[in-house]
């Protein structure tokens, strides 16, 4: 794949995999309204993933469409970050992940709106409004649970501690990305961190939560196709229907 196709795939895989995780909440969330909310957020992410995977396939030029890329690639070919593939855990873990990821994704899409690549700019300009809403949803829950009862506070802090080690990977850049940054195509992931810290720290302070410190940092590698144990199970669930019934449609 060309660097541009790989870059589109990275963004698309993040959105696709998180969309799948959020979809797992439907019928399991603590309230019916949350089933609906998480289903809607998953749908927004899936829409973004469809545009990005379709574009990656077009740029690659080997005739692969969004379905080929979503359902017929194996684990080592997925280049999403580890954060999005982690098992959902309890609701607080998922809300911690939503806060962490949507704050990153909002900053990323804000930058990409001015990408010199027209398609990436258009996808980002469309998605930025959706992700702003996702971040707001996560923020409200983190505040409510963090600054709530002893039980909800403890679980929100534990949720944050669970996802925090995976934050660093979001802001890790590499040669492929930097080459595209130089062309004005990509956003520099490492430059998004200060703005992210500012927003997340403010939410944590208001939610009376502690910013996790001193946690072990996992090695990362998602962008290179190296994944955690959770990823294989996720793909088995996500891809089995398509692989069992090739070419099936609704």
């Amino acid at each position: 794949m060309t660097p541009l196709a790989t870059y589109a795939l990275r963004l698309g895989d993040d959105a696709l995999v998180l969309s799948h995780r959020l979809g797992e909440w439907v019928t399991n969330a603590p309230q019916l309204e949350e089933d609906v909310a998480l289903g809607n957020i998953a749908l927004d992410l899936l829409g973004q993933a469809r545009s990005l995977l379709t574009y990656a396939g077009q740029v690659e030029g080997e005739g692969r469409d969004e379905d080929d890329l979503a359902y017929l690639r194996d684990e080592r070919d997925f280049c999403n970050v580890h954060l999005v593939e982690l098992a959902n855990g309890d609701f607080a873990v998922s809300m911690a992940r939503q806060l962490v990821f949507s704050t990153y994704q909002l900053a990323l899409y804000e930058q990409l709106q001015s990408s010199t690549d027209e398609t990436l700019a258009a996808v980002a300009a469309k998605a930025v409004k959706e992700v702003d809403y996702h971040r707001d949803h996560a923020t409200q829950w983190v505040l409510r649970l963090g600054d709530g009862t002893d039980e909800s506070h403890g679980r929100m802090q534990a949720g944050l501690d669970r996802v925090w080690p995976y934050v660093g990977e979001l802001f890790t850049t590499d040669g492929l990305e930097q080459a595209l940054v130089a062309e004005g195509v990509a956003a520099d992931s490492s430059a998004l961190r200060p703005g992210w810290d500012g927003y997340v720290d403010a939410v944590l302070a208001e939610a009376t939560l502690d910013r996790p410190e001193g946690l072990r940092t996992p090695p990362g590698g998602g962008r290179r196709g190296v994944h955690t144990e959770a990823m294989g199970y996720l793909l088995a669930e996500m891809q089995s229907l398509h692989r069992a019934h090739p070419g099936a449609s609704w």
Partner: protein, 165 residues
């Protein structure tokens, strides 16, 4: 013999009348989803639509319905294109669309922003009784474009078509 101008007008009115399958009182023209209709030199009608939200599942149905409506208007060759840019906003909803939504029981999004001071929306009016004493139940609803509200006066729950800008 009809002119190209007449053809464009006929094709446009056929496409414009297609209803949003999820809010079937709103045409895609009123919703702001219909962006352009042109007729190519070979007679092919090209309709350009834009999604409301990235993952809007109604897009496939709208695409099929538009092609069918334009064919029935006498144009056998139809191509429906999807354009992401410029990104859709509820500011593109027409006044007729807003009225149709309210009559259907869905509180419409606030009117398009004019230039100058930005008006502050204090509340969403209940589409049943008109009261402003309403409360948001959930920021997400039955479709991506709606949130759930309830009226404190008539006690009716209702959908609100969210402002999206």
């Amino acid at each position: 013999m009809t002119s190209v101008h007449d053809d464009v007008a006929a094709a446009r009115s056929a496409a414009a009348a297609v209803l949003d399958p999820e809010v079937p009182v709103l045409t895609i023209a009123d919703l702001g989803v219909l962006r352009d209709v042109t007729v190519e030199a070979d007679g092919t009608v090209v309709v350009t639509i834009t999604p409301t939200y990235s993952g809007c599942p109604a897009m496939d149905t709208i695409r099929t319905d538009v092609a069918e409506a334009v064919r029935r208007a006498g144009f056998p060759a139809v191509e429906v294109r999807t354009a992401l840019a410029p990104a859709w906003t509820t500011d593109w909803m027409t006044e007729a669309g807003r009225e149709a939504l309210a009559a259907y029981g869905i509180a419409p999004p606030p009117a398009a922003r004019a230039t100058g001071p930005v008006p502050v929306a204090l509340s969403v009016r209940c589409p049943q009784c008109g009261s402003a004493r309403t409360r948001e139940l959930s920021r997400f609803g039955s479709t991506a474009c709606k949130s759930m509200w309830v009226c404190a006066v008539c006690r009716e729950p209702f959908d609100h078509f969210k402002a999206h800008r």
